[in-house]
């Protein structure tokens, strides 16, 4: 067994906190009952770094009139997209909501969409779903159900604007494989609080990637729970916060059964005086989860003064009979020695900065495993870098 802890903060503009939770992560309330969650004030453990004021409309226990426009790639044989009533969706969702925003989303969705991949179906091409908002309040509930031994890649991209709360349920039956990419490419004024709850059957494999570049406030929490032995999750995240953006990602991996593997790797860059990112990574290894192998990592690159990154890894271990468990969190300014090295080869400061940022994200982007997404991401990072140069000129 190896337990490592390399939590560190090297930048004065950013800092990390090691929190000792007052109770086990397992004790956190989950419920479809909105009233089980008081309206967050910002003092709660799971809302303390959140942009609660901006998220307020998403806490209202009432229906919303807006909707997102769906466009979906042609669905191959064995793949269906259907709408089901709220009551059915509640039953089929793998776990109840963990906060008020997602409980409100489930209750007032007006019906959930189910993307189902039939057992033994192997889909080669990515299934793409584009969700476009035209403003207003939107509540959404989506279920992704992958049958036994089925395999698929699903890319969900959100654009436009909305005040959007959602619950996404991901159900992987035994030996199923899913590569799920969630891209937040909202316009600058979108407010988005989402919760992804995943359950993995025996030998199932989930690769989940979150890309958050757009929006004013994005708060996306992902939970993955193992229901059968031999399963694995790889959760990747890439975010880039500019001035005025608040991007929060919380993760919870629940090792409840033996011999499962989890890897969490989130990387973010921040540029601009009020750029803000929050990462909270919780891993729970329950007493029964012998043979667990887990590692979570968060790295933040702070490009300008005034940006702030909070990074909080938590690891709870209830058994010593594990393969390995560790986490690392680091938040740093540009490395002056890297910049000197590149510039001493004639490379300008601006170009050196771009090289370092591209390099910072390169390995993560290559992990996504969807070539079209990888290529478009590289382009989007180039655009973000142009903004960075503007921010630096403004300083």
């Amino acid at each position: 067994m190896t337990v490592t802890d390399h939590t560190q903060a090297t930048a004065d503009a950013a800092h990390s906190h090691g929190i000792v939770p007052d109770s086990s992560r397992a004790d956190r309330v989950v419920s479809f009952d909105v009233d089980a969650f008081p309206v967050p004030t910002g003092r709660e453990e799971n809302w303390r770094f959140s942009a609660v004021r901006d998220l307020k409309p998403l806490f209202a226990d009432e229906p919303a009139d807006g909707h997102l426009e769906w466009s979906t790639s042609d669905l191959p044989a064995g793949v269906t997209l259907t709408e089901i009533p709220v009551d059915d969706a509640v039953v089929r969702t793998v776990r109840a909501p963990g906060d008020r925003a997602s409980a409100v989303a489930a209750k007032h969705s007006g019906g959930a969409m189910v993307l189902a991949i039939a057992p033994n179906t192997v889909v080669d091409e990515p299934i793409t779903i584009d969700l476009n908002g035209a403003g207003g309040d939107v509540r959404g509930h989506l279920l992704v159900e992958v049958g036994t031994s089925a395999e698929a890649t699903v890319v969900i991209t959100r654009t436009g604007t909305a005040r959007y709360s959602e619950l996404v349920s991901v159900d992987l039956c035994d030996n199923a494989g899913l590569n799920l990419v969630l891209q937040q490419q909202w316009d600058a004024d979108a407010i988005h609080a989402g919760e992804v709850v995943a359950r993995l059957g025996r030998d199932a494999r989930l690769r989940g990637t979150v890309v958050t570049l757009g929006g004013k406030v994005v708060r996306l929490n992902t939970s993955a729970a193992f229901a059968g032995e031999g399963a694995s999750v790889d959760l990747f995240g890439l975010y880039f916060a500019d001035s005025g953006q608040h991007q929060e990602h919380q993760l919870f991996v629940d090792h409840a059964v033996p011999k499962c593997t989890s890897r969490v790797t989130y990387k973010g860059a921040l540029a601009g005086a009020s750029a803000r990112s929050v990462w909270i990574g919780d891993v729970l290894i329950r007493a029964a989860a012998e043979g667990t192998d887990t590692y979570e990592l968060n790295r933040n690159l702070v490009l300008t003064d005034g940006a702030r990154a909070d990074s909080v890894p938590n690891l709870e271990i209830e058994t010593g009979e594990i393969e390995g468990a560790g986490h690392a969190s680091a938040t740093g300014r540009f490395d002056e020695e890297q910049m000197f090295y590149l510039r001493s080869r004639g490379i300008s400061e601006e170009q050196a900065r771009k090289l370092v940022v591209r390099g910072f994200f390169a390995d993560l982007i290559h992990e996504i495993g969807v070539p079209a997404v990888e290529a478009s991401l590289m382009k989007q990072i180039e655009l973000e870098l142009e903004h960075v140069e503007e921010e630096i000129e403004d300083e």
């Binding site: 890297q338 000197f340 090295y341 590149l342 510039r343 001493s344 080869r345 490379i347 910072f360 994200f361």
Partner: protein, 251 residues
């Protein structure tokens, strides 16, 4: 024909104990085609000299001048110095994760020349230079200095020097930590660059061994932040036999 001229150079560095003067009036002139060995005990300021000329922000120049062909080097930014024709092969090259060697080399060459190199000749040049330094072609796809062994890092520094073709090159303890085979390969690269481009070389070293492979025209003994003695190659032989004790005793 280029000349790097260092006059009365004084350099300080901030330490937890306060400002400390490391260089205390260095005078040195290096012309194209000349190899100057700078030798001295640890802590004598050899690396400070190298990094000050390259423009590392940690060092403050308090007095004196550095010019390259009459141009004021100290007024130039770090990248401008490289474009003017200065090169520093570092003792501890820095890792730049995720940036491939081939991308880095092409970016640097483009920056130095002010235009992108012609693709066909460039690929051939890189391949040839890597072969000469016994570097595996797969090297180009690795991240800059990422997980490189000590010998690989030094060969990568010399690779850059051969491709970027500076006028004056400063080699900061390029020999330290190398076994004799790697030392020979690296030295061949330095000699090749000198033969091909008429490079002027400032060879900073603690040991005399590298001077068996790279023949210096001048030897300068560096003690306590200034040049204590100068001479020809015979001075290196004397240092080999006697060490630095003689200078330290009088310092």
């Amino acid at each position: 024909m280029s000349t790097l001229e260092i006059r009365n150079l004084h350099v300080t560095v901030e330490t937890p104990e306060g400002t400390k003067e490391i260089l205390k009036g260095v005078d040195l002139t290096i012309n194209s085609g000349e190899t100057h060995a700078i030798m001295g005990p640890n802590g004598s300021g050899k690396s400070t000299l190298a990094y000050s000329i390259a423009g590392h922000p940690k060092y403050e120049i308090t007095e004196g001048s550095v010019t390259l062909d009459g141009e004021d080097v100290l007024e130039m930014s770090v990248d401008e110095r490289a474009k003017a024709g200065l090169f520093l092969a570092m003792q501890y090259p820095v890792e730049v994760p995720g940036v491939s060697v081939s991308n880095f080399l092409r970016t640097a060459k483009t920056a130095i020349d002010g235009e992108a190199p012609k693709l066909r000749t460039w690929v051939k040049d890189v391949k040839g230079a890597m072969e000469n330094l016994r570097m595996d072609p797969a090297f180009g796809e690795r991240g800059v200095n990422e997980g490189f062994s000590g010998g690989e890092k030094k060969r990568h520094e010399i690779l850059q020097m051969e491709l970027l073709q500076p006028k004056i090159s400063i080699l900061d303890e390029t020999d330290s930590g190398l076994d004799v085979d790697a030392l020979r390969i690296v030295s061949e690269g330095v000699n090749r660059a000198k033969d091909n481009t008429g490079l002027g070389i400032m060879l900073i070293t603690h040991y005399t061994r590298i001077l068996n492979y790279i023949r210096p025209d001048y030897v300068h003994v560096f003690v306590n932040g200034r040049v204590a003695e100068e001479g020809g190659p015979e001075l290196a032989e004397r240092l080999e036999a006697e060490g630095y004790d003689r200078y330290l005793a009088s310092a």
